[in-house]
Symmetry: C2
């Protein structure tokens, strides 16, 4: 298998609220496909992102049970400048996110904090000088 993720789907309890956060709040352009029941977004690097009612994702994947809450997956939004971590956290709060952990300097030499989207999905906002970013936002993991 090639090293890739094609699509990240977030199961949400209120699709309209999630769309307000990602489309209207963060400003991500939403695809015209999907109709009323699902929202798709083109992310950088040829990655797709979807918002879908959580019970439909449970049903479609046959995941079996859904205890609710955290499931052991976190997404990260890296930024090229140290101060941008704090600015992004302040920005998302204005649009309905909650801070899980305020920005702090990290033992690994960067700076990061975490917010939860309106469904509680955790996002880290990180400046990581060890993983340099290209002008297109691509992250370079050292070999």
């Amino acid at each position: 298998m090639e090293p890739r993720v094609s699509l990240i789907t977030l199961g949400v309890s209120d699709l309209a609220r999630a769309v307000r956060f990602y489309r209207d709040g963060l400003g991500w352009a939403m695809s015209s496909v999907g109709g009323d029941g699902i929202a798709f977004f083109q992310l950088g690097g040829g990655l797709a992102f979807a918002l879908w009612p959580r019970h439909l994702l449970v049903e479609d994947s046959r995941i079996g049970s859904d205890p609710g809450g955290f499931g052991g997956i976190a997404l990260a939004y890296n930024v090229p400048e140290r101060d941008e971590v704090d600015r992004v956290l302040a920005f998302v709060v204005k649009h309905g996110a909650t801070i899980l952990r305020p920005a702090e300097d990290a033992f690994w030499g960067g700076r990061s904090g975490y917010f939860a989207d309106p469904d509680g999905h955790p996002w880290e906002v990180a400046w990581n000088p060890g993983f340099p970013m290209g002008p297109d936002g691509a992250v370079k993991v050292p070999t």
Copy 2:
């Protein structure tokens, strides 16, 4: 905020087992950084991927509580050919994944199935002619 995800972190209960699955099983090249406590991988499209003990992810993110199990996030691995869905599902099972839903034709015109990695994280394997793939694996979401 720009439309991007920089890093996907999967919380795992047994890091060595997870590394065996993703590095040795799927064949993804692991970064030399991170040491014994975390594993990083470069994915296509400038995306990074990490495996980290789940309790440390809970602690770092201040997520509060971890009920275990599914958390409402699914990843997808898209393939350019219909038959490849079945081949990928057969392949991952040989390396320790379990099938959540066998491949089936979808109402939206493609074909997909789901597997769970050794920690239960759900992955969809999908052929989606509506989201064409570039030669580099990039997915194009219709505008």
